[in-house]
Symmetry: C2
Subunit: 354 residues, 2 copies
């Protein structure tokens, strides 16, 4: 096999970017990893996989959309980009913008930004502005500024973002040997990703590249569940900072994906999210960020409600890597034991029983 | 294309593990990313790529060796594994061990463990023992304990580790279209990785799968450079914690790789490492951990000493992801600016000049 060229070049028939304008960090091509412990808990001989999109270059699925958004901005001659972000978007925007030789401005809400994400925007040379307000305040500002000034908006309302993100569905179909899963679970925050997944499945279904499409099962955090509640949430609260959003940009499209697929958008509590997060790391060996685990938490919640006949294939998207939020991991785990550097001390702490 | 099956199954002709014992997180298959800004600084029309091994599942190259070590331990019926680690090995050992249903004990040296790495071992359910001593003290302890108790040593002196790690050379050859680079730069800490790279290149060269082998260019941190100095360093000190090792386990093999390839093992200062780290993130969009940047720092140092004739192909291995050590990234970057959530305040902070 040759080198994976990044998703725009890999799927050039489905993404409209001239080769000379492609800005890539060779994103995409993320692994589809079986999670037998999850499957066992669901029962009924289901096959469950995680699509670990945290294994993109900046550690989240945002790279899929950002390679498109920045390539298009480059094609259009843009010299600067701007976004509002709870962290992952800013990391991706900063990385791709600097690779393209563009300036990047990121507006982050006050407080509760995961450490890893903040470090990325800073290292990639973005101008990071921490605004005294929440994500939705920051989003309103960047929309207005991008309309009035020569700076390209790269939030998920940038239409190119969704085009790049749809490739996750292409990859899942290929990784399953040309089939779609029966169910696709994923976290819902700003709702661009569920929209994009459905767009990808639908595009290949229309072209006859796949026979069926999955039911789309989206999960919001209980403290930030505007779509479930049917109204915006003014002060969203959840430990899953990546989906702490009160008024999703792609609200209507997410509802359409749910309805067209015969799926569901529901919510899971922070406790359910943390339990799934710990199961994935502690049993399957897969360390995702807390928000990502909303997908698996949703599967655990719905296992008995799906009416499974047995043997179904289920995919859960994990949107970000656990290294994005090391503080949370440390907070929910047992702390290291300090011992003297002697064999006796170490053996005692190991509690080895032979 | 189908799903990447992890490196043991992808390279099963070169790795001796029966399929039923394979423990995998679908590691390997990491991207080879052009770094045009590095190439420009080197000049002479060279092509420079980074092999971004930080894009393995636990965020470092250690996954390559650990899929082998844990699979072999499983084949042998082992129920527990142990390692000493400055962080990356413990993260990989904990992830693969828990996936295999094994217990994992990790001994980490006192202090200076990067936050991300520590969070991983903890989340993956390892028993983490912080010993009052340095890496070399911890290594001596785990070697002794593994000899006397039913627990498998998975440090890089475990011979299976190097076997897994050699696949990085196979991937580079394939990604370059069947050719080896002219030079391969990489960081040197415990020296297992330079040994493994050379083993991989040599194995395929002997089989006729590639016509040439690269000169191996290894770089230690100046405060932890035992191979360069010719004697162990009792108190190694460097900001590049992943290579803060005073008495490398694979010392002799590293010297053999250097001598057989006609390469060099030298050192770079912490300042040179940080400069390369910032260049990679700030210009190329690639965020690696500090130790990884020793490879590119070495290339910058040697650019004028290599006697390049022009057009050479150079690969630099980046061993770990920048998210492994967010504190370091934040420490070396400009801090975010706090602003009110008004258009006027944001525009002023952006310093937009039209």
């Amino acid at each position: 096999m040759g080198a994976w060229p990044g998703l725009i070049r890999a799927y050039h028939d489905y993404l409209d970017v001239p080769d000379e304008h492609v800005v890539t960090l060779h994103e995409g091509n993320t692994p589809l990893i079986p999670v037998p412990g999850v499957a066992e808990r669901v029962g009924r001989a289901v096959k469950v996989y995680v699509k670990f999109d945290g294994m993109n270059p900046t550690g989240s699925f945002k790279d899929r959309g950002m390679t498109m958004a920045i390539s298009k901005a480059k094609q259009d001659g843009s010299k600067a980009v701007i976004c509002a972000s709870t962290g992952n978007t800013s990391a991706a925007a900063a990385a791709y913008a600097t690779r393209a030789g563009m300036k990047c401005y990121v507006l982050i809400p006050d407080g509760k930004i995961a450490l890893g994400k903040l470090s990325q925007a800073m290292m990639h040379g973005a101008t990071v502005l921490q605004v005294h307000g929440n994500f939705d305040d920051a989003l309103k500002l960047v929309i207005k500024i991008s309309r009035e000034h020569p700076v390209t908006l790269v939030n998920s309302i940038n239409p190119h973002r969704i085009q790049g993100q749809k490739t996750v569905a292409f990859e899942v179909i290929e990784q399953l040997g040309g089939k779609a899963p029966d169910y696709h679970f994923l976290p819902v925050g700003n709702a661009g990703n569920i929209t994009a997944h459905w767009m990808g499945y639908t595009e290949w279904h229309k072209l006859g590249r796949v026979e069926s499409r999955p039911k789309m099962m989206g999960f919001q955090a209980a403290g930030a569940a505007p779509i479930v509640l049917g109204h915006p949430v003014e002060h969203p609260e959840t430990i899953a900072t990546a989906i702490r959003i009160g008024n999703p940009a792609s609200w209507k499209q997410a509802e359409a994906a749910r309805d067209e697929s015969g799926g569901t958008i529901d919510m899971v509590t922070d406790e359910e999210i943390i339990a799934a997060y710990q199961h994935l790391a502690g049993r399957e060996g897969v360390f995702c960020e807390p928000a990502s685990a909303a997908s698996v938490a949703g599967l655990f919640k719905y296992a008995d409600k799906l009416g499974l006949s047995g043997g179904e294939t289920i995919v859960c998207t994990l949107t970000g890597h656990g290294l994005k939020d090391p503080d949370r991991a440390i907070a929910v785990s047992p702390q290291p034991t300090k011992v003297q550097a002697t064999e006796e001390a170490v053996l005692a702490a190991m509690e080895l029983t032979e």
